[in-house]
Amino acid sequence: MRTVLSVPAAAEPLLTVDDVLWFLYLYPLRVLSAIIPRSVLYSFGKLSRFRARKRLDAAARRILKVQCPGIPRDQIEYIAAQFLANSAIRMLDDLVVGWPSYARRLRCREIEGFNHLESARSGGKGVILLTVHFCAIRIAKRYLAASGYPILTVRDEIAEGDWWGRVGRRVLAPRRMDFLQAIRGESVNVQDRGCVLKIVGRLRSGGLVNIHFDGLAGARTTPSTFLGARRNFSTGIFDIVRLSGCAVVPMLCVGQSSDFRIAFGPMLEIVPTPGRDEFIQANLPAFVETMERQIVTHPEEREQWMSI
């Protein structure tokens, strides 16, 4: 006779510290973000850095040392501290863009290389804005959308989170999901079956699509060296470029909602080849090199360090 042993799941606590922090973030802090000056709002970010600071600092330093040999060792502590501060500010800026009047509160210092974007758009086949996960990308995209340049963002589904207690899971998790959906702007999940069709539909309309090149790899991947380490990249972007004929423009965004800068680089020169695999191998190095350059120049802006 077969015996099935069942191990009782660990009881979920009624309330966790994360429940309390998410409550403070989604309710009082969100309301305050509409009325208090940005400098005061950002001071809450400094407070949050004390929580788990040791753990995050250590992780940031380790990742920077392992993955980013191009960055001088004597700057690693500074970069780690800045990266933590920027990550906190990004969360606070999310509160700012969560309000309907967000466009009035975004202060873009300058947009460099706008001619590169316009030149790419004039091709009529749409433009992929190639980025890495930088803290200021979201505010930049919302700013551009409010300025008449709507951007479809390709991204992963929002994870539900495993930090909740019973109260948080029941009350705060749905609220957090609604909030994050609202601040993302126009987006399509890579997990959607029609994801690529939506992207190509937008490109065929001459529109803009943002793809984070350093995102988690998809079902079809190809290996490459990135920041000194070997990793897999999704080949989906290369299939889209090859089959749609769209332009690819690197976009860089740094800063915070009260003072940020956007820079468009020259269109990447796409090497046409007869086959799919040849196309990937011919064009992958330019994509990798462009994105590595952004990260090595602004390592403190990369939010992806946190989730590795």
Partner: protein
């Protein structure tokens, strides 16, 4: 339905669309690049027929 004759991921769907366009010399409108439309093969065939007829009438 399309998924009954082939297992297609998102990229494969795009390759399917591109192949159909190339074969019949048409270009599908962006709003028709939709999974629910493409999976309905009779509707897709009917659409292609109409596009070919329209191209023939216009010639």
């Amino acid at each position: 339905m399309l998924e009954e004759v082939a297992i297609l991921d998102s990229i494969a769907l795009l390759e399917f669309v591109t192949a159909v366009e190339k074969e019949f010399g048409i270009r599908m409108e962006p709003e028709l690049l939709d999974f629910d439309f493409l999976r309905d093969l009779p509707a897709l065939a009917s659409y292609i027929e109409h596009r070919i007829e329209d191209a023939g009438a216009g010639a």
